[in-house]
Amino acid sequence: MLSFIGRSVVQKTITLFFVSVVSFLIIHLAPGKPSQVDPLNPKFTPEVVERFQKEFHLDKPLYIQYVYFYQDLFTGKTVSWKDNQSVLKKIWERFLNSLPLFIVGTLLTWTLSFPVGIRSAIYRGGIYDRSATFLSYLLISIPGFFFAYVLIRFVVPYFHVPVIGMETFGMGDAPVYYLIMDRIWHLLLPSVLYATGGIAILSRYVRSQMLEVEGQDYIRTARAKGLPPEQVHYKHALRNALLPFVTMFGLLLPALISGSVIIESIFSWPGMGRMAYEAILARDYPVILTVNFISAVLVLAGTFISDLLYLVVDPRIRL
């Protein structure tokens, strides 16, 4: 156990190092320079460009830039090229905006997909199963942005759901419960969209896991000794089918930061995805690289946690 932890920590640190090198190279070797973003801007005289390059070490060779960048990152001094604000502070603010979307979306996904998947597995081949299957294919295949506009077209005129931003503008001294309701109201459509793809995929996965377990011998034994069907389904089958899903908690971690570029830009939601998108458009390298680095850390931490959870949950696995 301890040796497994030690080994994977070393391995993941090495992986992280290479990820940082590769992402740095991708950004810096691509054609175009950040100083060329706005060549028509009269304020961008050659002297300003030169000062800009000196300020951000852009005149140094690549490997020195690399060292400078990650030194700044680990001491928390990285600043955005666009507005000179601390990158970590910017990310933290945007992260807090994305967090409610993530939490509500994930809750919707996990609470809806399990009942749907379990019911389809129990009544396999029935009308419910077939319609759920077709619906989930439909939801997997529908482009998120198109679905967003379908919802806007048909839901907004009848229910007056707000579709822009996180809160209604100019609600300065409204009562607290009103502010909270406003926030939830704004959260409705984006989080439903955030959850749709997840529900479709996860319910299919729950269904196939349940089917796999229901075909096992011990389920037949349980049935044969006359247990009621509910007990067989929920006590014998479901508990074993849940094993792989425990590990998925670890894999949720990276979704925390990546956000959703398309959903957030449709609903003008000031979250992580939109910040990353704006940073890409402005060639704000520090922001892009920091988001990339943090998400790589979260992916690695997530796989590590899911390995550990598997180890705890499944006594058959010994590493």
């Binding site: 439909l138 942005f145 806007i152 077209r153 570029v261 990353a276 998108y277 988001v291 992916v299």
Partner: protein
């Protein structure tokens, strides 16, 4: 009676006892015909394919039959099936079919011709991107699975590093030093090839012992590369690279392909690892067949099925990714239509001209759905666990 029985038993004996009654292909077809959703997917895919090819032929060239770039400002935002106002149009501007089959957009361009033009983009993006990712995946996975237990020696690593370093120097200003390093590397390769046969007999010197030491296996190397690639958030990475590179459809195909080969690599590696130990591979090796032939004629046909399934579903997700990118305004430069950018332009008129959103949206939905249904259908058929149960 007695002779009859003997006859029949002899007949049975004459039949080759182990050959299956139906070939694999017949078996596949028998199951496929039963799966209605998969057939539906296949039919839609074939229709889409012909639409895309027809679209390419009819909308390209200097004087196309359907001109997707024809601007008629007096005819903007006409609903589907609307008749053109012949009084205000020049004869050349009248749509080919006599009506606007799918309406016109905010510049009065015929949406039907734009959809035809966009179909080809979706088709090629799906196939080329997945083709690239499958090729890389099979190559990397095959090497990791088949040659995985081989070790990379330290001198190989040093040699590779020196080669990269030398090439880098040559591309940068120091051409002389770079060439020198490259020449040294070539000399070392030549030297080690010459002495390879003798080195096993002789006592190795200490330096050579270190240089010929095993660092890590090929399998470890490739799987670590896969791990590194999996660390990047894929849509974000694609967005970054596409935004930095000049706008072109080929860049999108290549980038999507280069960021989605990891799943295929893992599949192929797992298949190769189990197939490598099978008896027929041992027999092929005993016959002295070379590795190349074993890999491509003996192992690959047995390992290709899950790859095809994941490729079909990969096409669906590549089409979705491309549509998302053109929705955000990346990819094919503007006058050329893609389904994503028709939708992206049309979203501003969602209440006045909903067809501009719904026609491309539903088209993307149907095509992606057909690939998903077809892929899942093949997966069910090829899954031995589900056989005979349904």
């Amino acid at each position: 009676m007695n002779t009859d029985k003997q006859d029949s038993s002899e007949k049975i004996y004459i039949e080759p006892p182990l050959a299956p009654k139906r070939t694999r292909w017949q078996e596949f077809r028998r199951h496929f015909v039963k799966n209605k959703l998969a057939i539906l997917g296949l039919i839609i895919f074939i229709l889409f394919f012909f639409c895309a090819v027809a679209g390419l032929i009819l909308t390209s060239g200097s004087n196309p039959l359907f001109d997707p770039a024809m601007v008629r400002l007096q005819e903007k935002l006409r609903p589907p099936l609307a008749k053109p106002n012949l009084v205000s149009l020049k004869p050349a501007e009248v749509p080919t079919l006599g009506i606007y089959l799918m309406g016109t957009d905010d510049l009065g361009r015929d949406v039907f011709s734009r959809m035809l033009q966009g179909a080809w983009v979706s088709l090629t993006v799906g196939f080329v991107a997945v083709g690239i990712s499958v090729l890389i995946g099979i190559f990397m996975g095959g090497i990791a699975g088949y040659f995985g237990q081989h070790h990379i020696r330290i001198d190989h690593i040093l040699l590779t590093l020196a080669l990269i370093f030398g090439t880098g120097l040559m591309i940068a200003k120091f051409a002389f030093i770079g060439t020198l390093i490259l020449l040294l590397c070539l000399a070392y390769i030549f030297y080690s090839r010459q002495t390879r046969d003798r080195s096993e007999e002789q006592e190795m010197s200490a330096l050579k012992m270190i240089l010929h030491g095993n660092a890590f296996s090929v399998d470890t190397l490739i799987m670590r590369i896969v791990d590194i690639m999996l660390c990047f958030p894929s849509f974000f990475l694609i967005l970054t690279v596409v935004a930095l590179l000049p706008a072109s459809i080929y860049n999108i195909m290549i980038v999507i392909g280069l960021t989605s080969w990891m799943g295929t690599t893992r599949f192929v590696r797992a298949e190769f690892l189990s197939l490598r130990e099978q008896d027929f591979v041992a027999a092929a090796k005993a016959l002295g067949i070379n590795n190349f032939r074993i890999i491509f004629r003996h192992i690959m046909p047995n390992a290709i099925a899950p790859v095809l399934v994941s490729a079909t579903i990969g096409i669906a997700s590549a089409i979705l990714t491309e549509a998302g990118l053109s929705f955000l305004g990346f990819g094919v430069p503007p006058p050329h239509a893609t389904w994503g950018n028709i939708l992206s332009n049309g979203k501003n008129f969602i209440f006045d001209a909903p067809w501009l959103t719904f026609i491309p949206g539903i088209a993307i939905l149907i095509v992606v759905l057909s690939f998903n249904l077809f892929g899942e259908g093949i997966r069910d058929i090829l899954n031995p666990k589900l056989k005979g149960r349904s």
